[in-house]
């Protein structure tokens, strides 16, 4: 079981890293494409002005605002990329689960088939002792599967609950019925098993229950 956990981090980890990086690079390409075309348009307007042609000055304002917004979007994307890269720093640690969910929502938001998702604020700070990277992988895979199954107009709400003293439950509620017959796939089930996580499906959502402490993981990684 514990060597299986280690294998998962290596095998699935690489694949997951690749997949997330591909979607981040696509997001950055889009940002650069917008900046490039907007800067080009500014140049076109400058040339028109040199030729004595007039145009609405609001166009200049719109262009500069658009460039500033895209630069901010780029910084935000890089911050998320950095946060994601640091999720492998500690194999097992006390993890703020709300932060993991927020990052997973942002990272899956780069997917072209992402759906509108709302993360409900949690009243108290809930932490669990687990592998932050595998938890990120599991939440990401769950969101991705839900987005694929949901209609384009459907919306998802994520809620965090302390179901018992030793358990935490993440609830993924959707406003339309979705077909999750094939979920979890074997890779997702593998990660869930290592994290001792359990899925419960219903017509209106999916619940993911996790232990607050995962002694097997801690023992494995504490030994190096």
């Amino acid at each position: 079981m514990t060597s299986h956990a280690s294998d998962l981090v290596h095998k699935q980890g690489l694949q997951f890293f690749g997949s997330v990086n591909a979607s981040i690079s696509h997001e950055l390409k889009n940002i650069f494409a917008i900046i490039s075309e907007t800067a080009g348009f500014l140049n076109d307007l400058t040339q028109l002005s040199k030729q004595g042609q007039t145009f609405d000055l609001c166009l200049l304002e719109n262009c500069s605002n658009s460039i500033a917004e895209e630069i901010e979007r780029g910084f935000d994307t890089i911050r998320q990329m950095n946060q994601f890269a640091h999720s492998v720093d500690d194999p097992v640690k006390e993890t703020r689960i709300h932060d993991t969910l927020a990052l997973a929502v942002k990272l899956t938001g780069f997917l072209s088939f992402a759906r509108k998702t709302r993360l409900e604020p949690s009243g108290t700070e809930i932490t669990i002792d687990t592998s932050p990277f595998l938890l990120q992988t599991l939440v990401y895979r769950t969101l991705r599967a839900l987005y694929r199954a949901m209609d384009t107009s459907a919306e998802l709400t994520l809620t965090l609950r302390e179901s018992e003293a030793s358990l935490v439950t993440l609830i993924f509620s959707h406003d339309q019925a979705v077909d999750l017959t094939d979920f979890p796939d074997f890779r997702t089930a593998d990660v869930a098993e290592v994290l001792k996580a359990a899925f419960t499906k219903s017509d209106t959502g999916l619940a993911l229950t996790l232990p607050r402490e995962n002694k097997d993981l801690r023992d494995k990684f504490a030994g190096g």
């Binding site: 696509h26 494409a33 075309e37 072209s112």
Partner: protein, 164 residues
């Protein structure tokens, strides 16, 4: 290109700001642009207006670029489709070319390169249309011999049906 010989361009991308900036720039180059932010709108607008060239993003919510390429090529025989995407890989480029894409460009692509590619696609469209019209004329001429007027009309209808 002058204002009187505008190329009718369908531009499809779910990145609205990119779409707007590119639309404004291409308008200055005397293209007649119809922008669409998704595949569904692009199909709808393509049924109402005639386009020479379409520039299509690959990854979009709903109908994606590959599905849109297939639909446009099936319903508009002479329309040339350029794929412009941040997701372009060798595999997708090969797949899109097999489906009839004129060219696959990677985002961000230089504006002048895009303009040149659109013009090349337009030339290809004109050439294809001209060749088709020449073939059609030859067929009409051959039909004129030994056919009744009604027979000629029937054959012309058949030819027009194949053009859809």
């Amino acid at each position: 290109m002058t204002e009187t010989e505008k190329i009718h361009l369908l531009l499809v991308d779910d990145e609205e700001k990119f779409l707007n900036a590119l639309t404004e720039r291409l308008k200055l180059k005397f293209f007649d642009i119809t922008p669409a932010t998704n595949g569904e709108d692009a199909i709808e607008v393509s049924q109402k207006a005639r386009f020479d060239v379409a520039v299509v993003d690959l990854q979009m919510p709903g109908i994606d670029g590959v599905q849109l390429l297939e639909t446009l090529k099936q319903s508009h025989r002479f329309l040339e489709v350029i794929i412009l995407s941040g997701h372009a890989t060798i595999d997708t480029a090969v797949a899109c070319t097999k489906l009839g894409a004129f060219k696959v460009l990677e985002k961000p692509c230089g504006f002048e390169k895009l303009v040149e590619t659109i013009k090349e696609a337009y030339e290809a469209r004109l050439k294809k249309k001209f060749e088709n019209d020449t073939q059609r004329m030859k067929k009409i001429q051959s039909l004129a011999f030994g056919q009744s007027p009604l027979g000629i009309l029937r054959e012309l209808h058949k030819m027009d049906d194949n053009l859809k």
